[in-house]
Symmetry: C2
Subunit: 458 residues, 2 copies
Amino acid sequence: MAQLTGSIVKYPARNLVAWYVGLIVVGTIVLTLSICRGAGAPEITFLDAFFTATSAGCVTGLAVRSTPHDFSFTGQLAILLLIQVGGIGIMSITTFAMFNLGSKPSLRARAILTETLGADDNTDLKWILQHVLLVTVVSEGIGFAILLARNLFLYEPGKAAWHALFHSVSAFCNAGFSLHDDSLVSFQGDVIVNVTISGLIIVGGIGFPVLLDLYKNWRRGPLEGWVNLHLHSKFMLFGTAFFLLAGFGGFLFLEWNGVLNQMPLWKKLLVSGFHSVTCRTAGFNTIDLTSLTNATLFISMILMLIGAGSCSTGGGFKVSTVMVMALHAWKTFQGATRINFARRTIPSEVIQAATATALLFSFVAIVALTMLLVVQQSSTPHPNSPGLFLDAAFEIVSALGTVGLSTGFTGTLSDLGKLIIIALMFLGRIGPISVFAALSMTQRNTPVEYPKEEPLIG
Amino acid sequence: MAQLTGSIVKYPARNLVAWYVGLIVVGTIVLTLSICRGAGAPEITFLDAFFTATSAGCVTGLAVRSTPHDFSFTGQLAILLLIQVGGIGIMSITTFAMFNLGSKPSLRARAILTETLGADDNTDLKWILQHVLLVTVVSEGIGFAILLARNLFLYEPGKAAWHALFHSVSAFCNAGFSLHDDSLVSFQGDVIVNVTISGLIIVGGIGFPVLLDLYKNWRRGPLEGWVNLHLHSKFMLFGTAFFLLAGFGGFLFLEWNGVLNQMPLWKKLLVSGFHSVTCRTAGFNTIDLTSLTNATLFISMILMLIGAGSCSTGGGFKVSTVMVMALHAWKTFQGATRINFARRTIPSEVIQAATATALLFSFVAIVALTMLLVVQQSSTPHPNSPGLFLDAAFEIVSALGTVGLSTGFTGTLSDLGKLIIIALMFLGRIGPISVFAALSMTQRNTPVEYPKEEPLIG
Ligand SMILES: [K+]
Ligand SMILES: [K+]
């Protein structure tokens, strides 16, 4: 263990990549086995198994094959294990890397984070793994119990338990895989299912450090507890609430005369709320995405890009990164020379890391979208392939943000297209933490200072 | 003059807005007059006149009415005057504001810029206006002479002169208005026209300070001249060359089997080169945009966003802003604590200003695109309005970057849609300089320093 830990501290990005590659390779091999194939289903090609294993291991949820029909129970179990291992893995490893690398040991944040995790000596991978497992088992256990109770009214006990387990794990890990071909559309008006799944998604997506911090402070009561929270936890709670409300309001407004048109008010609210929760990173859906307006799909893409929390099962830019950038822009226009939030000053290294990460993310998305458009359309003029641009852009953002929502484009992917999406799911999963590791491990260098000269801006 | 100058120094953004509003109001009133209407053309509604005046005054080039058919010679002349006044206006005012506001008087850049403009006392609006006029008249004069010589082979002398004048002014001002309904498609293979228009676009788009700097240094020969150029000029020359080549290569590759398919090699190169020059901000076209692939339109949107140079007739993020952000990200990943380029250190205020400006720009684009999609589609599901997303996104970027290319969407705009595009053309024109002014005028405030704490990023 100590050796593994030491090695991960030294080469975190390389080890993380190796770890995920291993998981996906094993998953791919298992999923091509004939016992994983559903009765009467066509053979699972190597590429489709590769796609499915990557999607499950990276908890993305995009699917080129039908989970309920093309895979047997064994196949579904393999997918579930990939999701569970991938989800726990990313939570543990990112937490470990963030706590052990940090940017500067002298910064108070490092100290505070170490505090949260107990004594310094305990912050090794084993301690983190145990506690991540604990959080996972407790959350998924509660979700399982509620979903089981609900499912017993619908299915025979064995199926009820299997569905409850699968969806509870898939929701907590923000994987978005479902045992229904239409995801959760058939549970559109089921308040218990909607609330349970939403709860699991939010808990799994807010990030392990925030959960620990909340656990340590909840006894103090709301006011004193809030004051004692770390800056990162305040960021995440505030930002998550904000984006949940924005997504909810946006969906409600944009689809009021669209898909929500025929629904009673309570169902309008339920569907809008669930979409807002799920589209930031989980990837379930209770409405058919092909019936949404262009405007709704566009704001969904923005929410997918924003994503969830650091050290969580979610993906995207991360809420804290977006908030740092927004605060930075806002304060710059006010002429402020440093950025304060909740009586803390945000170090300039963090702001630099946030903008650099966002730029890299955007750059990858732009290159990938161009490649996907080339691969999927060859040289067709755009009036002969209308809708392709939105479909492809949505798919790219969904893969890179490890969301898993799709307007149906996944089914039309060519082999090259599938490879591009596989690469993006992988990059979306291990990219941010690798970038973080790279930024932390880099020897800070202080280049010679030349006379200052400003290029003109704007 | 001194009073006006003083007032502009004090409230540059407010005065700039007032100046442009005045120009557009006068233009709108003139264009609704019946003498401006083409023979047999339907009445120019107030909204269409407003749209056309804004598009011409902001040198954008989007058109809801046919310039050659719906407007009489007088109407075309009014459009040309709006373009000329708008183009000279933006070059002069932005140059004036940048030189007189700057961020810190102590920075060497300010001093150097003032140097370029001669003695300090001469850097008033009058001096700048005179020299901008000189550059404009010389450039447009050369363009006019070449285009006239070419046109005399095609038209009778009066028409030849009028077309040469109109296109020469429209190209130098990066306006993109044309006296042909198909822009320059009929001159697709005309090397003289392509090269002349491209030259005017590049000279008009690189920015007045760069032109002055080149003029001062060109006698020194290429090597010594280059060394003596200001950082901003080096940025612009390097960046412009890079993006021209990238756009050229991208177009050639993506359309090789598309619109370029039937063309001989020389024409393939000519068309690709012209598209690369024109789509960053000018807005002419020698191929029908509706026959391009989705991928080409996407990279064209990226080029439109990047735009041209500061203190020029072009729009967009500006080449220097994009380069500062790219350098910043690149150096951050290398762990560098300061950013050097060509033996100069870029002040951190400039980097902050660049990222804040880009974020604001993106935010405006996102809000506007959502609004336009809502206004243009009401509640239609996206499979029933395919292609809308690309068309609308292209139109938004084109308006905000004051480019003027369109996939034909301009003609389908509803009244509300027209108002959104008018607002964006206006924001795209006066926005960047207003932001710059706001950033410069803001009292630098140094908030209290709290204990440092880092939120987690990535
Ligand atoms: K997901
Ligand atoms: K233009």
